[in-house]
Amino acid sequence: MIKVFIYRHTAAVRVFHWVNFVTLSIMLMSGLQIFNAHPALYWGATSRFSQPILSMGAMQDDQGHTWGVTTVGSHSFVTTGVLGWSKGSEGSYTERGFPTWATLPGPQWLAMGRAWHFFFAWILVINGLLYVILGLLSGHIRRDLWLTRPDWRGLGRSFIEHARLRFPKGDEARHYNGIQKLAYLFVIFIVGPVIVLTGLTMSPTIDAGWPWLLWIFDGRQSARTLHFICATTFFGFFIVHIVMVILSGVWNNLRSMITGRYAIEAAPAGGGGSAHD
């Protein structure tokens, strides 16, 4: 086996990736700040305050202890210290949805959370659109992300290999596998557009111009809930992505996303042996 470097990520993809990383982090944390202004989610056009789908808050028991409580549907969970009741920026406990370390800004400050969110929303959308347009024109999406017939056929095996934390090596590592491709296509073409459209549905001006958005998402409060679910999905994707990057070779992956160069183990020329048996 010899180590060979392949040129994995073009400069454009690397720039899009890191802009996206910073932007999504800011969007997520400022989004949680905005959520904290009214830490409850509903379904439909309006807020039926007595029937939230999800809510976070503080409750006091008979002994005078305060608990953080998160309610999902009809189930309540004690989430003291993290959700509903956590240490504020001055060190004392306060009632708040997500804790200070998860929000931007840290302290309760809706106006500034909105300022971050609506500035970086533009960068997120512009970066995302440029990525998709260039990705389609250059063939990147069709060549590197679109699933081939063998990808579809190997999906089950690829899933099992991932679950067992065995990663493709050698020639198989030259391309994304089926599971990877599906994950990227899912966030780029489903979660991304839905998070933008549900965000727009929360704008009362957009609702006047594009009332069909309310129809698609079943009302403004449903759109807010779906926006939150998409954000959670993005966060889940992010966590899985980080774990996979670490497990499949953190330096190799980081190098490839910074310089473009990705190392794979290859059999000496003419060997053609399978590295994956």
């Binding site: 056009a45 971050w116 609506f118 533009w122 001006t205 957009i206 309310l214 330096w251």
Partner: protein, 256 residues
């Protein structure tokens, strides 16, 4: 040799990563406190407004709902009863001595009593109220269109904004106030509402008169309106940002 370079590179990457992390977690909070950051981030609202003006027609209507959609309890917000002796005295008399002053850059300033406003053609609409906090409530609002009231005082061409001065004193020492542009003032769903759900507007919702906008957030819809003034700029008022919440850092453009 390559090993040394690779170790250096790893350190560099680690350093960059740690730096980015610190910037994201701690730095953004420090950045949030800088007036420059606030002004740069806040300026995106003008891009948002310009974009929304492109995709949403001038008179596009906010969706209207049915009686069945009206919230059983409409959530009151902001001031619930102005701590203002003059206002309380007017309220005691059922606002019969209350007058809405409309002046500024107009040809003929006027004062309107509640009866004057009630005798004008009224609009009734069941619309959604979206609070900046994130919740929504549906209510039925009745009152004259603002543009019909303004037509009575004949705005001058220099008038660019409509200021609303209110009866509720706020914690920053000013009274609540707001401003909208002439385009919003001319929108058919911009009302001066004196009724909610078919009843005289209760005090906690802004009696005797509040502003209703179809396409912006709740904080723009001034309650307890006492005085309307047409101006060329909102800068001379309050802290110069166009309204009480704008002075606390909220965007002037509340269409999103």
């Amino acid at each position: 040799m390559t090993e040394i370079i690779s170790v250096r590179r790893r350190r560099l990457i680690l350093g960059l990563g740690a730096g980015a992390g610190t910037l994201l977690l701690g730095g953004c909070d420090r950045l949030s406190n800088l007036p420059q950051t606030q002004s740069v981030l806040g300026s995106a609202q003008w891009l948002t407004r310009a974009a929304q003006r492109v995709v949403v027609a001038r008179d596009a209507l906010a969706p209207e709902y049915t009686r069945a959609d009206i919230a059983p309890v409409f959530r009151p917000n902001g001031t619930l009863n102005p701590d203002n002796p003059q206002y309380r005295a007017l309220a005691k008399q059922g606002f019969k001595d209350w007058r809405l002053k409309v002046d500024g850059l107009v040809e003929s300033p006027k004062e309107f009593s509640l009866d004057d406003l009630r005798s004008m053609p009224a609009q009734t609409q069941i619309t959604r109220h979206d609070c900046v906090e994130g919740w929504s409530c549906i209510g039925q609002w009745t009152g004259p269109m603002l543009r019909n009231v303004l037509a009575r005082v004949l705005p001058k061409p220099q008038a660019r904004y409509v200021m609303f001065f209110c009866a509720d004193p706020m914690d920053d020492g000013n009274y609540y106030y707001e401003s909208i542009d002439m385009r919003t003032a001319a929108h058919p769903q911009t009302l001066l509402a004196y009724e909610l759900n078919g009843e005289t507007l209760p005090i906690k919702y802004g009696a005797p008169l509040r502003l209703r906008l179809g396409r912006q957030l709740g904080y723009k819809m001034a309650k307890y309106v006492m005085h309307i003034q047409l101006v060329a700029s909102y800068r001379p008022f309050g802290q110069g940002q166009g309204g009480y919440w704008e002075d606390q850092g909220y965007a002037w453009y509340a269409g999103i």
